[in-house]
């Protein structure tokens, strides 16, 4: 329970509901009867964090255990920060109202690089010393996991221990080890050395780094018998994996306020820009019976009237038809609607589409990612223009008149012609509308083109690629703008300077810890929010730390360079990534995992798509 004192200050903030706790299904335990207290921290505001499926899963999983109490902590918005500082209130967990320094574990989920400053912000507000070396006891252990843990180096000074890969098993193993070390009165160092022996655990303080004269890495040396490379953990059988039958139901509106079910992990496609597509290999599916039962239980226990089926690419789920027919057996009667967020519209019949909510509500969206077929081949995005056109035509004939298309600019090998190709593609969609005979009468078409700037990420075939500079990206944006000749096309683009800073941290090394610390001293927070991000300030930070951001973002790396994340092993062979990179530069595509195995290395887990029977290709 949060204290009466906090209640007073809540009267002075915009959205007090973010800071109260007390939601339906939140878990309250007696702190004297648990052994381990875990503060699950999401380095963003409540509405964003509470929408995150991974947090819901781990919260329930931990709290299933009688000896663990897991609580939630979010980053307070600046109005609350001001109140907390003024009244000297430390950052607290929503369940007990206790400050972070009362917890055995302080765990962060790393979803995007621009949230790193918020980690320091939250630690400081919670009275936790920022640097690993300043936290001497076996208590207040700071841990982190999630996709950005794939390159943990920029956070190495602050985080005691990283979870690599899927957390459901390894998290509990580490908690158990902590319990036993605690009862044996062992030191924090003893605990960390032992933890490093658990597969999927990376303890940065056990490694020393040397650099070459040109700033690149020279060597990475483990000590105390820590493994040379840390291998990710995966869950082999998703059907047997714990899944919550209940979510905390927020009392205020959040970003994704609905029941969610995971239908599979991984992605068969191998788009070369997509980090998630490589980190979560191999594809492992859940069976329709299991998903159906989980959805039904969740709706019953939360009262949600919407379920979304979550995955990286829903139409690749092999059992989608049986799943939807099971779900629709009860969902209509119970006024529950089903939505599939990441939809490749081409994969579905009209019949299925009519049962789904997404399409109805949010309009048609496609992500061709690049404007020309050549460039789509480079990035291995296997969508052809004729597929796109035929789906659009069907949709226009069915009464649609707005389409959104998503692209990236700054992709490897991209020329200004490829950029102009985005506008031309948009124009052909406009034309398709006017040649659709049953288009809505008297209505004009609206095509929205949206571009994000490409950020090269670790563990993708483009991990060596120099990101376009901000100037080049801006030029490309302007070129695209100038290539549009009709008012029926709207163009919007993401700010390229945030992508630049994202690129620095995505492929950064340990030396960036200094920059994070400096940024923290300057009060930089919420960099993922346009209102707070400042390129100028970041450039100042890098400058004052003697770091060159272009070294990380805009430099071509060689295949034989030692990369800051080379000691982390996601099961994808580096030789495969090199091969994929070369194919990209030759405009060659690679078949998806269901068409043909390309031998990426993920088959070592002996599960999932790597062992499915493939239809022989003709």
């Amino acid at each position: 329970m949060i204290s009466k004192e906090v209640e007073k200050i809540l009267l002075n903030v915009q959205k007090p509901g973010r800071y109260t706790g007390g939601e339906l299904n939140s878990v309250i335990k007696d702190k004297s009867s648990v052994d381990v207290r875990f503060a699950f921290c999401f380095p963003d505001v409540y509405e964003v964090g509470m929408s995150h499926l991974g947090m819901k899963i781990l919260y329930s999983l931990f709290n299933e255990r009688e000896d663990i109490w897991c609580e939630r902590v979010f980053a307070p918005w600046t109005d609350m920060e001001e109140q907390m500082r003024r009244h000297s209130f430390p950052l607290y967990a929503l369940e007990s109202g206790d400050s972070l320094d009362k917890f055995d574990f302080i765990g962060f989920t790393l979803q995007y690089e621009l949230s790193f400053t918020n980690i320091l912000y939250m630690l400081e507000l919670g009275n936790i010393p920022l640097l690993t070396k300043d936290r001497k006891d076996l208590f207040n252990i700071v841990v982190a996991g999630g996709p950005c843990a794939c390159n943990p180096e920029p956070l190495a000074d602050f985080v005691d221990l990283f979870f690599i890969g899927e957390g459901e098993e390894v998290d509990l193993e580490v908690i158990d080890l902590y319990k036993s070390c605690k009862s044996n009165n062992e030191s924090k160092q003893d605990f960390l050395i032992k933890a490093a022996q658990i597969e999927g655990v990376y303890v940065p303080s056990l490694y020393t780094v040397e650099y070459n004269g040109d700033g690149t890495l020279k060597s990475f040396t483990p000590s105390h018998k820590a493994p040379k490379t840390v291998k990710k953990r995966i869950i082999k059988n998703l059907d047997e994996l714990y899944y919550p039958d209940n979510f905390v139901v927020p009392s205020i509106d959040i970003v994704h306020d609905r029941a969610m079910a995971e239908i599979f992990r991984g992605c068969i496609r191998g788009c070369r820009f997509c980090q998630a597509g490589f980190l979560y290999r191999p594809v492992r599916e859940k069976s329709p019976e299991v998903i159906d039962a989980q959805c039904h239980a969740l709706c019953n226990n939360t009262g949600y009237d919407e379920v979304s089926l979550s995955s990286l690419s829903s139409s690749d789920y092999t059992q989608i038809v049986p799943l939807l027919s099971r779900l629709t057996e009860w969902s209509a009667d119970e006024n529950v609607s089903i939505s599939l967020p990441s939809l490749r519209v081409d994969g579905f019949s009209d019949d299925i589409l009519s049962k789904l909510k997404t399409v109805r509500k949010s309009g048609l969206t496609f992500a061709p990612e690049a404007g020309t077929q050549r460039l789509r081949d480079v990035i291995n995005k296997n969508v052809t223009e004729s597929e796109l056109m035929s789906t659009c035509s069907t949709a226009f004939n069915g009464g649609w008149s707005t389409v959104k298309l998503y692209f990236m600019i700054g992709l490897p090998t991209e020329t200004l012609d490829d950029v102009a190709g985005i506008a031309q593609l948009g124009q052909r969609v406009v034309n398709a509308y006017y040649s659709a005979e049953n288009r809505p009468k008297g209505k004009s078409v609206r095509v929205t083109l949206s571009t994000a700037s490409f950020v090269p990420k670790p563990f993708t075939p483009f991990q060596w690629f120099p990101q376009d500079t901000i100037e080049v990206l801006k030029e490309k944006q302007m070129h695209l703008k100038d290539s549009i000749t009709t008012k029926k096309i709207n163009y919007n683009y993401h700010d390229s300077s945030t992508s630049f800073v994202e690129a620095v941290f995505a492929r950064g090394d340990r030396r960036l810890g200094k920059a994070l610390l400096k940024a923290h001293e300057k009060g930089m927070i919420f960099d993922g929010w346009g209102d707070y991000f400042s390129l100028e300030k970041w450039l100042e930070v890098f400058d004052e730390c003697g770091l060159d951001p272009a070294f990380y973002a805009n430099r071509q790396r060689e295949f034989d360079e030692l990369l800051p994340w080379d000691h982390i092993d996601y099961g994808i062979k580096k030789s495969f990534l090199i091969e994929e990179c070369k194919r990209a530069y030759n405009n060659e595509t690679t078949p998806n995992c269901r068409q043909k195995c390309s031998g990426c290395g993920a088959a070592q887990w002996k599960e999932g798509v790597c062992f499915e029977k493939r239809k022989t290709m003709v």
Binding site: G22, N301, R360
Partner: protein, 219 residues
């Protein structure tokens, strides 16, 4: 189809749930409780719920009401409070279900209790400050209207009130116009106080009664 009026309390931390969010909280609780509630028709059917009188963010309420319609006329409405209470967040409790007698449009006033505190001041001192405010010839503050901010004199509205000390708090009880015709938010008195003294205060404001023109409880 029958209409049912539900009375509920909203207190403690639940006072930080806004009116809009309250609608959502109630909808989910009703979905979960499987009460045979009537859904709106159309593209996106949802349970039909109306609230008689919105409560400001940050206020507690002791006799809040919402109306629903049941599709099953034989459903025992006395079961509703318990069924909903298992599905509501901390601080919201439904305590009564009955057929509505009045229309929400008949609401004309509400009784509020406002506990006011300030760091470094005793209840007695705050009482004195409030007393002097209410004794002034006029109590001017600004009120948000559809046409923007407007000066308003609160003096004429504060006919029925009493003021007492309760430890570190001053407690001001007052009856004010409420409803769709005229609505005076008690927070305006606190604003006037802040303007007068330049001090900072915190408060817990509770709506204790909702009444019609004759002073009968809203039933």
């Amino acid at each position: 189809m029958k209409s049912v009026r539900l009375w509920f309390k909203k207190e403690g931390l639940a006072r930080f749930i806004s009116h809009l969010d309250l609608n959502k909280v109630m909808t989910l609780a009703i979905n979960r409780s499987k009460i045979p509630i009537w859904h709106t028709e159309g593209f996106n059917p949802h349970p039909f719920i109306t609230f008689a009188l919105p409560l400001s963010l940050g206020f507690c309420g002791e006799c809040e009401t919402m109306d629903i319609r049941l599709t099953d006329d034989d459903f025992d409405i006395s079961l509703i409070p318990e069924r909903l209470n298992g599905s509501l967040p901390e601080g919201i409790r439904v305590y009564r279900a009955a057929a509505p007698k009045m229309k929400p449009a008949q609401i004309s006033k509400a009784r509020y209790e406002m506990k006011i505190g300030a760091d470094g001041k005793s209840g007695g001192e705050i009482c004195a400050e409030i007393g002097s405010l209410l004794n002034s010839a006029e109590v001017i503050t600004r009120k948000k209207t559809k046409k923007g901010l407007k000066d308003i004199d609160l003096k004429p509205y504060i006919k029925e009130h009493d003021l007492k000390q309760d430890g570190e708090f001053a407690v001001l009880n007052m009856t004010l116009p409420a409803g769709s015709v005229e609505n005076i938010n008690p927070i305006l008195y606190l604003n006037a106080l802040k303007e007068k003294t330049g001090g900072e205060y915190f408060y817990i404001c509770t709506r204790r009664k909702i009444k019609n023109e004759n002073g009968d409880d809203f039933e």
